[in-house]
Symmetry: C2
């Protein structure tokens, strides 16, 4: 399928998706905001700090002009960090309202407003809900550019829109499923990063695979409970954007969120860890939003609580794990 | 809680559980069938081939006399491989019928009969269903003996019986949840090994974390479908015996099932792999039982199908993965 597509944000995922869509026959424009990254891309067509051993195909246009980038596309793809999305949207809100298909790739919940990304897009641009699709799932950019088999889910309240994105992105090694539960897909993809930080903490403390299995399972249970309270479907959390992305993130050497947790478990301070990183670990901000959402909905989220206390209240990581294991014995499933 | 407990089978998990229960105050007898393993245990109280750097506490009685071992216990724990359970049960069936609590640890489905372990126990001994508890979850013996935090689920149709096992096994680092879905817990714990073999195959082929995430998610979806058809509850598959054990197995250096898959992915023959292993990879036999169960129930299990063909019909591993990725695009959730 050939479309005029603009991708906003030339991070690792933005670059990988640019190549994917260009190879699928699309006319791709890639916009980058940070001046030094833009100039580096223009000169070398690569950014080794973000995606090593990768060169953008020559057919992809690179620009730093936001208004021009969104003047005429049929599809706009948002590949900017969650907490920056609103500021990217505001100056081009009117133009975006006329773009038939808006695809969100960010996995986060806006701090303060506690809004999902498709809600932020709809609020700022006035776009109808049936224009917006969120693509999510276990998809490290580092592997997608190597054509390793990858599966994701395209979620929208509009089935034709989800189908369009499914057909646009699918190729032999990149398989896209459809879902109508955009609430669930966005929450699962975001909240799973809190659990990834928790498993990283346990790894950093020297705990093993059993502990990781426990944290993933109980973490999945609590983010599913929170999702249900917010209108998501439980089977979405058992799917690619939930379990799939969670296990990939928790086991992966590529995950920034797991890395942050691991460093915390080894005794480093959050500030120092974040300063040393070239890319954003979405889970840190999501831990704040998730904690507040759970308070608002009166949902019990013991792992999120402990991650929040370790990240933002200087609680000892070992004490946090010990507190989790010492909870009252009970049934596996409860509300 | 202090009980007279007999554990049948001194494999790695049998040994780890012996220590767990002895430390909890139980009077523990451990029975082993293989003469050389029995003599080694008696002489050295250890078996480095099965559990390195581990010595059984002196308080544990070691025996090779099956009838004597089950003459007077309050609890009997079965830690023998699934396909051997029936032959261990038959000679002591009458005695077992009078033991109040029978705890199964094996994760498999009997070839031929396609019965779960608690069904085999009930059939052979005539024990009532409320005597039988299955304990399952992400619990590599190698980590439990190091007191790494571990969680499992004790499943029984009898809540008092599940509660007894919960209290018997729980300590500060070993946390036991209860479930009344023994069908689901047994099926999840068994069928997940088929998915573990599949992810091992992908690892052996050099595929990445995205592929593993996809196989785990879609594998979980298909074994959940099969479980539902057999009377299990779906939330059990999202729990410790399903997701939890699955992700631990798929990511772990300790997993024999993942190892078998990895060796297959690297081009070795199944016969050669199994001959070289000192312990049993339950998933190989479970792949046969799972494949037949799905045929019988008319449930679509694409990953199990491919694992079966690779293991038993010499299908190329690469072709199997390619066939999985090339399926028709569809919605994420379907029946």
């Amino acid at each position: 399928m050939s479309k005029r597509v603009t991708i906003l944000g030339a991070g690792s995922w933005g670059m990988a998706v640019s190549r994917l869509l260009q190879r699928a026959g699309c006319r791709v424009t890639l916009w980058e905001f940070v001046p030094e990254d833009y100039r580096l891309l223009l000169r070398t067509r690569s950014n080794p700090d973000k995606l090593a051993d990768f060169r953008l195909p020559d057919e992809i246009d690179i620009t730093d002009n936001l208004e021009a980038a969104v003047s005429d596309p049929e599809v706009v793809v948002f590949a900017v960090p969650s907490q920056h999305l609103r500021s990217v949207l505001v100056p081009i809100a009117d133009q975006l309202a006329h773009v038939p298909t808006l695809v969100n790739l960010a996995k986060g919940i806006e701090n303060g407003t506690l809004k999902r990304m498709s809600e932020v897009i709809a609020e700022v641009t006035g776009a109808g809900r049936d224009q917006v699709v969120t693509l999510s799932g276990p998809s490290h950019a580092e592997e997608v550019i190597l054509d390793m088999p990858t599966t994701v889910v395209a979620a929208s309240t509009s089935e034709p829109r989800a189908t369009l994105v499914q057909e646009l992105f699918s190729d032999g090694n990149f398989r896209v499923y459809r879902s109508d539960d955009i609430v669930g897909v966005e929450l699962a993809g975001s909240l799973k990063n809190i659990v990834a930080i928790a498993t990283g903490i346990a790894d950093g403390l020297g705990m093993g695979d059993n502990t990781r299995g426990a944290l993933i399972t109980r973490g999945l249970a609590e983010i599913t409970r929170l999702g249900l309270a917010l209108g998501a479907r439980p089977d979405t959390f058992a799917g690619l954007s939930g379990v799939g992305d969670l296990v990939t993130t928790c086991a992966s050497r590529h995950s920034r969120n797991r890395f942050v947790g691991e460093q915390i478990g080894r005794g480093r301070r959050l500030d120092d860890i974040l300063k040393s990183m070239k890319m954003i670990a979405e889970g840190v901000d999501t831990a704040r939003s998730g904690y507040e959402l759970a308070l608002r909905c009166h949902v019990e989220v013991p792992i999120t609580d402990q991650v929040y206390r370790v990240l933002f209240e200087n609680k000892s990581a070992r004490q946090a794990v010990s507190d989790l294991m010492g909870r009252k014995l009970r049934e596996e499933v409860w509300q």
